[in-house]
């Protein structure tokens, strides 16, 4: 009966209850959805790191990481590979040669890490082969008389391999993308002009357009004006195993884009047989063995089992290699708990206020209930239940709405392309697919119930302090 009465009491003042419930709906939606965006971004970042950058576990010779000495290859490579493959949960391995060096074009140079890979084996571990920009080439598929190198988009920009120019095709494409006529018209003034670097092109655009226009259309213009110099060459220079400087000319195999500026700027991929020859190490030697496992959750377990079986090597998991990612996964839980608690605390003030009004309005009725024998515990429960019901209705509706919005946005993703440079500088994709773990809804529900309980304490105490004889006299 107390439950029923509490439930019915909520609907005495429809408008007031709906206002309170709506505030909970909005608060919960805002909280849950922004957390889903955050979790989506973090998980995408981790997936990208695991699928494109580092995979799960890396094995190197001891001390290799301290100075990247090319002579420190993995000894007994066959034994090492077979030991690792015998461990349960290991999906695949691939070997890499890692050399520090410089990449040079006629006008520019940049410090890079040159990575020698076996393209076929690499495909089984990383999805880099699917990240080659259209029209720039392929993942070492074609036969070539030349040495081939695969470089990142940002390095290509830095080395001026990517150029920018405005032509009629590009202007027509801009129109179909919805760029206003006026902007396209002004841009057409640049037809025929070539820009050897992104910086120069941006500088020019800044002169031609207002800050607002540049922010709105700069990115799409740059994407359309982008052009790749085919058959570009670059020279890679590095030290061989005897510390002699060697250099070799490479043709571009292609340009990859994984939406991570740092990675793209520093990682150049070449075929390992070409690299072993230049460095002067045997063809089957390598510096790094990369291990992919079938379940990311078993990372720690498999890492320590490899460590035990291969004591003479350095074995690092993705958590050791990218502690920021490991920290993010650990912190995200704490962060969203704090985030939800702050939102719910704000909502609690609204609920307290409403419940105080409820107690004040029903003074006489509460006096009557105490007079006829409703004890303090029951009066308290009734007020508390009203508060819990209101927060729960709002919470459940808020969670349902967030769930629907998350499902809808997760299909296409949310495009923050306006801030893409900022996102990519941190290694995050600007195209975020929100996601949420269903467990989270259970946690939020518990927090909502707690909010209802806590915000009823003060009003309910007020109700308990009423003297029935006095309360009955009020009008």
């Amino acid at each position: 009966m107390i439950w029923k009465t509490a439930w019915k009491n909520i609907w005495r003042n429809h408008i007031r209850s709906v206002v309170v419930i709506s505030s909970v709906v909005v608060g919960i939606f805002a909280g849950v959805f922004s957390i889903a965006v955050m979790i989506g971004a973090i998980n995408q970042r981790i997936d990208a790191a695991l699928n494109e950058e580092i995979s799960h576990i890396q094995v190197t010779a001891k001390d290799f990481r301290t100075n990247y000495d090319p002579a420190l290859t993995i000894k007994d490579s066959e034994k090492v590979i077979s030991v690792i493959n015998s461990i349960g949960g290991v999906e695949n391995t691939c070997s890499r040669i890692i050399i520090s060096g410089m990449a040079n074009t006629a006008t520019k140079s940049a410090g890079v890490q040159i990575i020698g890979i076996d393209p076929e084996k690499e495909k089984k571990i990383f999805s880099l082969n699917k990240k080659i920009m259209a029209g720039t080439g392929d993942f070492f598929e074609r036969e070539s008389r030349y040495n081939l190198a695969l470089i990142g988009q940002d390095l290509a920009k830095e080395l001026n391999i990517i150029r920018y120019y405005v032509d009629s095709t590009m202007l027509a494409e801009l129109k179909t993308e919805g760029v206003p006529e006026d902007i396209v018209h002004r841009l057409s003034g640049l037809t025929g002009e070539r820009f050897t670097s992104e910086k120069l092109f941006i500088k020019k655009l800044k002169l031609m357009f207002t800050t607002k226009e540049a922010a709105r259309y700069g990115r799409i213009i740059r994407e359309k004006a982008w052009s790749f110099r085919e058959n570009s060459k670059l020279t890679l220079t590095f030290l061989d195993k005897d510390n002699y400087q060697v250099g070799a000319v490479f043709r571009l195999a292609g340009i990859y884009d994984i939406r991570n500026s740092m990675f793209e700027q520093t990682n150049v991929f070449v075929k390992n047989d070409e690299l072993t020859r230049l460095v002067g190490i045997t063809e089957d030697s390598f510096h790094k063995l990369i291990v992919r496992i079938d379940d990311t959750d078993n990372t720690d377990e498999i890492t320590s089992s490899i460590r035990n079986k291969l004591p003479g090597y350095e074995v690092l998991s993705w958590k050791d290699l990218q502690p920021d990612l490991a920290m993010m996964t650990g912190l995200v839980h704490l962060y969203y708990a704090i985030f939800m608690i702050i939102i719910l605390a704000a909502l609690a003030f609204g609920i307290v206020n409403t419940m105080l009004m409820v107690v004040l309005e029903r003074t006489k009725e509460l006096g009557m209930l105490t007079a006829i024998g409703m004890n303090k515990k029951r009066v308290f429960s009734m007020i508390m239940l009203e508060s819990v019901f209101m927060s729960l209705i709002g919470g459940v509706v808020g969670m349902i709405i967030s769930w629907i919005v998350i499902q809808v946005t997760a299909r296409e993703g949310i495009n923050f392309s306006k801030y893409a440079e900022g996102f990519e500088a941190m290694g995050f994709s600007a195209h975020i697919y929100p996601q949420i773990d269903p467990i989270f809804f259970i946690e939020v529900t518990i927090l909502i119930i707690l909010t209802g309980v806590i915000s009823s304490v003060y009003p309910a105490r007020k109700a308990l302090k009423l003297d029935p004889a006095d309360a009955l006299r009020t009008e």
């Binding site: 029923k4 019915k8 009491n9 005495r12 009725e365 007079a371 024998g373 004890n375 303090k376 029951r378």
Partner: protein, 228 residues
């Protein structure tokens, strides 16, 4: 059988300037199945006396014994429980729970006392029928007239078979026809259920129907007349 006994009860309110002697040494006994009216002019202490008997207020001195239990000695939580089990209340302004139906209002105390569902429903229906509202069991108070609401309140007061029912000016807000009907129903229930009714009033028609009339003035009993 004596169910209620007042022994030299005084109630003094500490006003800001003067002490108000609301009840000035009242001693009374009530037996089972009485139908008693407390009358007297405004300010004579009727409501205060009913509040004291109902345990909503404590006497400054003297004792109030219900079936031998001294109300003043009960702790507040025990007192609420004691009220629930022994005393039924009818208020001047009905005071039904507006969100519950007539039936649910009657059932309320029984459910607090954890009566089995079937017993509760039977008793509710029986009581509403005897107050002439058997067909309005699912109506909310707002859909009922004042007289009907007060009849529901009477049914609620009787629901858990208390020792006695206290009614403070139960007819004050009713027209004369509804007032008479209500009193007739109360009298009938008093007879059938053998429950004592003590009600305050200054309506002469209501006084006429009472079996015992206690007249108060300045917090004292000036006459106690048994008409039967």
């Amino acid at each position: 059988m004596k169910i209620l006994e007042l022994k030299d009860v005084h109630k003094i309110y500490d006003g800001s300037e003067v002490e108000v002697h609301a009840i000035n040494g009242i001693s009374l006994d009530f037996q089972e199945a009485e139908f008693a009216a407390i009358v007297g002019p405004s300010g004579s202490g009727k409501t205060t006396l009913l509040n004291l008997i109902g345990g909503l207020d404590k006497p400054t001195s003297g004792e109030i014994l219900i079936d031998g239990t001294n109300l003043a000695k009960l702790k507040s939580s025990r007192l609420i429980d004691f009220r629930m089990r022994n005393i039924g209340f009818v208020f001047q302004s009905y005071n039904l729970i507006p969100v519950l139906t007539a039936g649910e209002n009657v059932e309320f105390i029984m459910s607090l006392q954890k009566w089995p569902r079937q017993d509760r429903e039977e008793r509710t229906f029986e009581l509403l029928k005897s107050v002439g509202l058997g067909s309005r069991i699912n109506s909310r108070p707002a859909k009922l007239s004042g007289g009907q609401q007060q009849r529901v309140a009477v049914a609620r007061a009787l629901a858990s078979r208390p020792k006695f029912v206290l009614a403070d000016e139960p007819t004050a807000n009713l027209d004369s026809k509804s007032a008479t009907t209500l009193l007739e129903i109360m009298e009938e229930l008093n007879r059938e259920e053998k429950i004592t009714f003590i009600f305050s009033t200054h309506d002469p028609r209501v006084v006429k129907m009472a079996h015992r009339v206690i007249t108060l003035e300045d917090g004292k009993v000036i006459s106690d007349e048994n008409k039967h």
